[in-house]
Symmetry: C2
Subunit: 342 residues, 2 copies
Amino acid sequence: MVGIKDVAEAAGLSVATVSRALNGNPSVSDAARERVLAAADALGYRPNVVARSLRTHRTGTIGLVISDVLNPYFTELARSVEEEARALGYSVIIGNADERADLEDHHVRNLLERRIDGLLVSPADGHSPRTLEAASGPTPVVFVDRWIPGVDVPVVRSDGRGAIRDLVDHLCSLGHRRLAIITGPTATTTGRERVDAFRETLAAHGIPLPESYIGRGDFQVESGRLATERFLDLPERPDVVFATDNLMALGALDAIGERGLRVPHDIGLAAFDDIPWFSHTDPPITTISQPTAELGRVAVRALADLVEGGAASSTVLPAHLVVRRSCGEPDPRTPSGGAARE
Amino acid sequence: MVGIKDVAEAAGLSVATVSRALNGNPSVSDAARERVLAAADALGYRPNVVARSLRTHRTGTIGLVISDVLNPYFTELARSVEEEARALGYSVIIGNADERADLEDHHVRNLLERRIDGLLVSPADGHSPRTLEAASGPTPVVFVDRWIPGVDVPVVRSDGRGAIRDLVDHLCSLGHRRLAIITGPTATTTGRERVDAFRETLAAHGIPLPESYIGRGDFQVESGRLATERFLDLPERPDVVFATDNLMALGALDAIGERGLRVPHDIGLAAFDDIPWFSHTDPPITTISQPTAELGRVAVRALADLVEGGAASSTVLPAHLVVRRSCGEPDPRTPSGGAARE
DNA sequence: ACGGTGCGTGTAAACGTTTACATGATAGGA
DNA sequence: TCCTATCATGTAAACGTTTACACGCACCGT
């Protein structure tokens, strides 16, 4: 491999000058700069960023630990994170936790050992020891989407509570009374927030949420299927089930289809996270949409601020309801206030 | 940051012994090993992999450049790559090319500068200069899914031609005669393979493929929509359109839905790549399924072989047809031979 | 008692950069 | 003309590891 040394030799200059020329240091003469560039080009010189990082203590890399790469919500997040990071001069290393705390641990450790400049994490579960450790360590950390309460780290997330209120209002306006929910892991903040907001709004409408109408999922397809099967076995089947992420909604659809039931005629379905396929399912699915790409961008900017010595603050972006047909046809005379329509 | 030096001091040993103990070198006494481990633990020592990499010329990292993170096919690939790589002791850095040659270039360069041990790439386009350069450079390279003809690099891919033959047979058996195709970029091998196999099988059935029935797409949603709109504007609308990836199929669905047309009654639709949503669209979509996760695993193993000094060979895995309802109901008396059914 | 063997440990160089500091040349001011 | 400031460049240390080599010691066979 050709190094800075070879370039120096070819250009008849010292390594210091070559390094300076390559880094755009102003205190190098035009003549020297030209010779360096020519030599580097001729030799096909490629900087060795690992050596550079060792010396500078900066890797130009941020880590992103997401909960599940197979979840379109997170891939969209990852994409916008990478895009913004690239614009800011950083590379991104993605770690996929598959909703498992041990994998999250693995990736957090791995990324820290690689001496990333900053870490973006969507904690799968509040109990990953490495994540907690990282949060109080020297490497800047920003939580995105989910966070860990009580940990003093900036959070960039969206607040789904308003949209969930709109959703429940919408469901009630359609005449539904038996509402069920498939939750995420209650150890995650998003999991808890969604079920809490749901329960509170139900209470405001004077509707109870019996334990049998709460399915405990883990944000994965299979758990959505299982929870839905349990609902369908109930003597009093719910009018509509609200799956708190898109994968569990897919599982619910699987379970409903397997019984030969039809949405929304036999049972309604609502979801969280809007993904392109939701317009094309049978029927199109009513869901709550987050400003996913924006979340990623804001999170990266917050982290970059932190890395560069600034002080980042938390951001909360609103989510909104997107009404489609999976909960029944809305009565045109009584639009539910404030909810967005397609 | 606490380094090996601090550990050495705390343990009352030299850095060499500490390094050896930490790396499981057998020539260190149990007593010393224990002291080292205790000291490292007490100090919260974390190895600095960038220093290690500089010295050993190995980063324990492989790069993966995929064509599009938003494409579920590639995220499934990425997931299996990471999983297998982790099992083999490697980390993965993913670069997303978004089907753009310039981004592919960017990521290939970036990864090589990071001195990854090996590179897995699904070339977006045959003309990315860096990818070609990398293929003949010192860093081991394996192509996955797509490849560049004439470049001497192992390829791990699936062969869709057999499945496309099955698909065309299936469509003909349903009585369809006007078959249209939305291709990928013809600079990609998968793009070309799919249209070639389609055209050949059509010819074998004595059916022409007029230019107007070939929509030139780029594996992205929007191009699928545009191509489909053009088909729908034709005086003789095709009986069925075959979108050669899942995103363009989504675009086609968009276009068809916007005209108020119904699949398969007004027009049939077939796709390439099976994704979970295809069972839940309206109607469920007939498609060609690749052994995606297996492709990822095999590719990683091939690359790891190469990295460790072995000689890797190419692998071709078969794809197969999955018949659903988007091309019309099959006549139960004439099952199309060999095609898998759900 | 002696040379050889092996084992555990230490010393120091090396990996490819960046950068503080030193140096030499040039130019400017008096 | 000399002193000094400025500028371009060079020298060498440092970043945190790994590892070739050297060393000292205990043990073995003769």
